[in-house]
Assembly symmetry: C2
Homo-oligomer: 329 residues x 2
DNA sequence: CAGGGCCATGTAATCGATTACAACAGGCGA
DNA sequence: TCGCCTGTTGTAATCGATTACATGGCCCTG
């Protein structure tokens, strides 16, 4: 087998034209039964495989979607991406991934070179000009940025935060510390906003310390918190990772969770359930988010069904585990 | 802006032929300085972006690599994939991902449709016939399968396991339990083999219980272990996740780690350092593995540098943290 | 000044499919 | 029997780039 068989080779083998072979493969119903059989046989015999580049060029589509996330290594994103890939694969589309923090020129190219038919954006911090310049259907997922002016899907972060605050308040906590996310990120800011709204609504005292979603920042927050004169006994971290960092640092300092301090996280990553103690947290249905985003984008691509115009919010729920307990009286 | 500008549009705008435009863009040095400037101006003016499908078709390459992993959601793989993407992106290649457990026909197509120039395989359980049939450069990473007959890169699992066993033995443990990985997986089997070799070499007693790398199986193993009449005080889990499962179940049963039992994991995932207690484990340099695999594949693709013929093993090391302590005397 | 070589550029073939349109055969109704 | 319709197949244009080869101008050398 020297070179790959082309459509023309199959046509020659079957004694028909390339048009017929093409039709036999993509629109079998318009080809005569006997001819079709002969073509299929020739396909087998030659080991023919379609050349995607040629088909894509002619059809002006790439049968591929691009997923942009700020950190591909993060377990939060990987679960979502897996779900996207699953849906896309089932629809016969490939998935390209790229770190959205890559060099800007390279990133811009990805949306312009025709190798993707649509984009799923997991990053709200891209240059809006660049994003709006991409001539493709796009959806935002989890994060969002009004300047993109795109349809999107996310959980209702503020409502979710309220669940966490309510839970702690229900346990009798009157003072709650929020280890915030980065304030250059919509998730960070909306969770912070939600926090202040929720404590105000519930009439409990709120406190705030800076963070950036990472375990390291959670640990740092714990060290700061530990030095507070009258430290709050309830902590709401802006992410699970942050909560893990906080709790692990507590353990180092000999502070018990939830005995000395109750901790709530956000995301419900896979490890939350198996942390010690198991982490009370907001569950983000990551697989579902990924699946739904992929489905609506793919429907837009393949059936021309228009994308929704607005951002859609789905409800997240609280999962109560061992890291929270009643406030000491 | 009705349709995207093509090379011909740029050529018209610059008053040159398409050949000149093409050359000005990809081989600037062969084009006259003044002409080049005029072309660049026309590119700006028309907003021209190359059509990748056309270029790929003509050049018979896709500028893309395909990464196949058995579970894209797994944090172990995602770190590796991120590194691959980073290297590939810097080299101007896109990265396609697919779950290698997808339907076989779809998977086979991925290697044949010409949309990838090379493949990085993170799964040793694929149909060897299919893998050998792919007419592309490939490398195996982390996992391997002799039937693929491919170059590969992985840590020396058996040597790594020996480090774990040595560490436990050095702490005075004479009886060590291995919570094994799945035996239909090379990593599972090679770690098990390594375990038996290491205990024999060190002259300590080994015990074995089945598992499959998951937290769930680790938890199950802990429950079994707890019922053993004379239970070993040292456990080596085939993966960090398994170790987390084991430890979390211990916590539920009121068994202290490392007080009552020392636990060693394998992989050093991001959370290992922040678990409670922090997990002693074998560090797999996942970013480095991903980077090196990507680099050698890309070198083969772009410079024609041949891939190594054999599998390459790199050393892993042990990270000692809080989950292990001296055996009680 | 003729001839050779080099440089810059243009012409046109090419990559491998899809698809608009043409052509042809056979069946059927008028 | 003629003309039309339907169903099947072929011819050739097309997608948008790259690149082998041809061309023409210019400079240099003998």
């Amino acid at each position: 087998m020297k070179t790959r068989a082309r459509l023309a080779d199959v046509a020659a083998a079957a004694g028909v034209s390339t048009a017929t072979v093409s039709r036999a493969l993509s629109h079998p119903e318009v080809v005569g039964e006997e001819t079709r059989a002969r073509v299929m046989e020739a396909v087998q015999a030659t080991g023919y495989r379609i050349n995607a580049a040629a088909r894509d060029l002619r059809q002006q589509r790439a049968r591929s979607i691009l997923v942009l996330a700020p950190n591909l290594a993060n377990t939060f994103f990987s679960r979502i991406i897996a779900a996207i890939q699953e849906v896309a694969g089932a629809a016969g589309l490939t998935v390209q991934i790229s770190d959205s923090r890559a060099e800007a020129a390279r990133l811009a190219t990805l949306g312009h070179d025709g190798r993707a038919d649509g984009i799923i954006l997991l990053d709200g911090s891209l240059d809006p000009e660049m994003v709006r310049g991409w001539p493709l259907p796009m959806v935002e997922l989890c994060e969002w940025n009004p300047a993109y002016d795109l349809p999107g899907l996310a959980i209702d972060n503020e409502a979710a935060v309220a669940l966490a605050v309510e839970h702690l308040a229900d346990l009798g906590h009157r003072r709650i510390l929020h280890v915030a996310g980065p304030q250059d990120n919509v998730l960070g800011t909306s969770r912070l906003t939600g926090f202040w709204q929720a404590v105000a609504a519930r009439g409990v005292e709120g406190l705030e310390v800076a963070g950036d979603f990472t375990m390291r920042s959670g640990a740092q927050a714990a060290r700061n918190w530990a030095t507070m004169p009258d430290r709050p006994r309830a902590v709401f971290a802006a992410s699970d990772e942050c909560a893990f960092g906080f709790m692990s640092e507590c353990a180092k300092m000999g502070i018990a969770v939830p005995g000395d301090v109750s901790v709530v996280g956000f995301d419900d990553v896979d490890f939350a359930d198996r942390y010690i103690p198991a982490l009370t947290t907001i569950h983000q249905p990551r697989a579902r988010l990924g699946r739904r985003a992929a489905e609506s984008l793919i429907a837009a691509l393949t059936e021309g069904r228009p994308l929704p115009r607005k951002r859609e919010l789905i409800e997240a729920h609280l999962v109560i585990r061992g890291s929270t307990s009643a406030a000491p009286r």
